[in-house]
Symmetry: C2
DNA sequence: ACAATCAATCGTAATAATGCGATATAACAA
DNA sequence: TTGTTATATCGCATTATTACGATTGATTGT
């Protein structure tokens, strides 16, 4: 039935350019309400530990830890060991870089559409 | 084993606020290299039809159609029937609104971190 | 040394997303 | 009418994501 060879369920990153793939990965890491809430909380408190987020958001510790990992993967947050806990804060350099990457995409001149 | 009632594999949108859920949905719709490429192509050409994208990107027609649907869902593009084909273009109003929503999230004062 | 605390990871269950072939539908052309 | 073209949708296979309990490992306090 399927005579062409391709991997099902997998994004074909090879047909897109570096910028498109990178931006998509950054957006995907941000595209969850819990991760947006985590970032907002860290910004509000300046820094926080995993357990603070568990209490604040009402998700299980394993779930928060998983979301933190995805945010760490794109570098937007970084953690520092402080005794038994780990203090998380925003990585300003990466935060600004992502802002720049988004601007590069969004700050284009979207012409007055001619067909709608 | 699991004595608490919750639906597995589903995002708990009820514990987040309107802004967090909306922003996450917008970001999710943009968080795929194909959809970024589609938007960039539409902007470059001002407008295009589904088949143009099939030729340009090298994805199957069904796949392109599916990605277009997701972009239509957040309103960032709109289609206009032109004969047998449908002309797609950017919805400038929504484009600017999403830019604003992103600015609201990103343009905060990220303090110098005090723990990393 | 021993218990307590915190966070990462493993394992698991369920839903979501990705991609394409096949088919359906709608509009135009001959 | 018949055929062509363009797009949407259905069905399917596969991978990805979400969420949590249980466990592990590391550090602190007694």
């Amino acid at each position: 039935m399927y005579n062409k060879i391709y991997k099902m369920g997998i994004t074909k990153t090879d047909i897109f350019n570096e910028q498109q793939n990178k931006l998509a990965l950054q957006l995907k890491a941000l595209a969850h309400p819990a991760r947006i809430a985590i970032l907002q909380y860290i910004i509000k408190q300046n820094a926080c530990i995993c357990n603070d987020l568990v209490n604040e958001l009402g998700l299980a510790q394993a779930t928060i830890s998983q979301h933190l990992k995805e945010l760490k993967n794109i570098g937007i947050i970084k953690g520092n060991i402080e005794g038994t806990s780990i203090c998380y804060c925003i990585n300003e350099i990466v935060w600004e870089q992502i802002k720049k990457d988004l601007s590069l995409f969004f700050d284009v001149n979207v012409k007055a559409n001619n067909c709608c």
